[in-house]
């Protein structure tokens, strides 16, 4: 950040709720189906159709509110009127001045607290694709509309303008995503558009100065582009102000390829949405019992999950910085239960964390589906020296493919039968006898030659020997 300047950042995050059906009709809420197959009179905006609110969508929205420490309030739906071909009714049903969730907060992993102004429900639009060379709206000859996404339930989470750096914004989105996944409300896939971020950015010269004029940045498709766009936009605004010009309140488009933001429209063009209460829907008034029941179904949130893993590492002298990163990875991927169960079953916390962050994380979906007992058994085989690290990795891959199973049996199938101590000792003895010169140098203190002998043993056993066990036998023979 240019010295003498401070950024002020607020974020608006839209997330698609993980329901079976759409917000106001029974069409499947599925990404990637054949165009215009998941449609009905309601989500096509056919004359005479009427919306009926999806209870599960409401409860997931309440779960988000609970996870973000919001007040959950009686709320209503409004119509936001504007013409656009992806908007089947040419109005969007959205919560306006009486949203479901208000006044919450989100704590970043470093403890920084970001206020949540509101988290309200609304419906998604259909999807427009543009025909023509560019594939973009500008310069397209015509466009095509698919209404499969029309009416998919969204929650829009609006933060207070509390963030001061792009890093905080990135951390906010990462943490929010983890919360959405942990609460079961959303799959948080930015790349599939199930989580979409808009950033409001302004700059000011001092931390106590009034907020500057802000610009809203759209089309931020990853945490990385969010950070880049904020940095770019802040620099653009600073340059304007320093050259004596004023920042104009605008909506701007992030161009990932060009690495810059472009003006879409200014505030003078602010559209008159003519919000009014949706007459086809009735007020949503959650009572205390309903709110409590939804809260009771909510699992542990990421902050708590991270704290739990940090706790497991206390015995071994506390988490290192590297381990903290591993913890974040494991929790973000929803794999922390595997670590906890493995440690409870007797695996060392360092090994359990490292294997989960490095190996299980390579296929997190498969790892989450794994029976924690299989995972525990696998780590026990490795910890006990019965499988090498390489072998354990191969067995894990097989567990993923099979969707579970008995690790010991898989190891046997693969020929990873751990060698008995006797046959290992015999193989080492053969290697030693065959290379007296090298053995002599090893005995004289040339430790590098341990690798040479281990290599011979591995070759003889086709990699099935446990490296640590070979080293131990060599050391024993040397005396």
């Amino acid at each position: 950040m240019t010295s003498g300047w401070q950024m002020v950042i607020g974020l608006e995050v839209h997330c698609e709720l993980k329901t079976a059906t759409k917000l106001f009709c029974g069409c499947p809420n599925v990404f990637g189906d054949e165009p215009n197959t998941n449609v009905c009179p309601n989500c096509l905006g056919l004359p005479g159709s009427l919306p009926v609110l999806n209870q599960q969508a409401v409860e997931l929205a309440m779960a988000i509110g609970t996870a973000l420490h919001c007040e959950i309030k009686p709320s209503t739906f409004h119509r936001k009127n504007y013409f656009y071909p992806d908007q089947a009714k040419d109005y969007q049903i959205s919560q306006y001045d009486e949203p479901l969730n208000v006044n919450g907060h989100l704590d970043l992993p470093d403890g920084f607290r970001v206020g949540i102004e509101r988290a309200h429900m609304e419906e998604d639009t259909g999807k427009t694709s543009h025909a023509g060379a560019s594939g973009r709206i500008h310069g397209a000859d015509y466009s095509l509309v698919d209404y499969n996404r029309s009416g998919v339930p969204l929650v829009e989470i609006v933060s207070d303008p509390d963030m001061r750096t792009a890093d905080q914004a990135r951390a906010y989105v990462t943490e929010l995503r983890a919360i959405l996944v942990a609460s079961g409300a959303s799959d948080g896939k930015m790349e599939e558009g199930s989580m979409r971020v808009d950033a409001n950015v302004s700059v000011r010269t001092a931390a106590d100065a009034p907020f500057g004029t802000r610009c809203e940045i759209k089309n931020l498709n990853s945490v990385r582009s969010l950070g880049r766009a904020i940095e770019y936009e802040a620099q653009r605004q600073i340059a304007l102000i320093e050259s004596g010009e004023a920042v104009v309140q605008q909506t701007r488009h992030w161009d990932e390829g060009a690495g810059r933001t472009e003006a879409l429209r200014s505030k003078e063009d602010a559209y008159d949405y003519r919000y009014f209460l949706e007459p086809d829907l009735v007020p949503l008034v959650p009572d205390a019992e309903w709110i409590r029941a939804v809260g009771d179904t909510l699992g542990m949130m990421p902050a708590e999950r991270r704290a739990r893993l940090v706790g497991l590492l206390e015995e071994s002298g506390g988490a290192t910085d590297a381990q903290r990163d591993q913890i974040t990875t494991v929790v973000d991927l929803g794999l922390d239960d595997l670590v906890v169960e493995a440690v409870a079953g007797g695996v060392g916390s360092g090994l359990a964390l490292a294997r989960t962050a490095n190996e299980a994380a390579t296929d997190a979906d498969a790892a989450r589906a794994l029976d924690p007992k299989s995972y525990l058994e696998l780590l026990m085989l490795e910890a006990g020296g019965l499988l090498s690290a390489t072998q354990a990795k191969a067995v894990l891959a097989e567990l993923f493919v099979r969707g579970g199973g008995d690790p010991a049996a898989i190891a046997r199938d693969k020929g990873f039968e751990a060698m008995s101590e006797d046959s290992l000792a015999a193989t080492v003895a053969v290697a030693v006898d065959g290379h007296p010169d090298e053995w002599g140098r090893y005995c004289a203190g040339d430790d590098k030659l341990a690798g040479f002998f281990t290599g011979l043993v591995m070759k003889a056993t086709k990699g099935q020997a446990n490296g640590k066990a070979v080293a131990a036998e060599l050391a024993r023979l040397r005396g």
């Binding site: 029974g26 709206i137 698919d146 209460l277």
Partner: protein, 102 residues
């Protein structure tokens, strides 16, 4: 309480634009007069002092009408697209779109 200013020709042109309606000059004049007289009639309502009166948007007080998250049959795509003025690649085809959604 004073009512709002009288409807002008420019107001009518503006709302016609918002409502995606094209009006000829003659229609603009005609509609301005007609709509202004309706709004003049509504001055009795606009000028009432109703501070403290709750608005009624729904005549019957009903809350929490919900459905279960269970899939219902969708429409047949052929039937849906068969109604459309223009279709390509199983999608609704529209002419060039000049800007992003507002």
């Amino acid at each position: 309480m004073a009512g709002p200013a009288r409807l002008t020709r420019e107001d009518v042109a503006h709302v016609a634009d918002l409502a995606r309606l094209h009006l000829s000059e003659g229609e603009l004049d005609l509609f301005t007069g007609q709509l202004a007289s309706v709004l003049d009639h509504a001055a009795d309502v606009a000028s009432l002092d109703l501070a403290g009166v709750e608005p009624t948007a729904h005549a019957m007080a009903v809350t929490n009408v919900l459905r279960l998250d269970e899939p219902a049959p969708c429409l047949d795509r052929g039937e849906v697209l068969g109604q459309a003025p223009s279709v390509e690649d199983h999608r609704f085809r529209v002419p060039r779109i000049l800007g992003e959604a507002p």
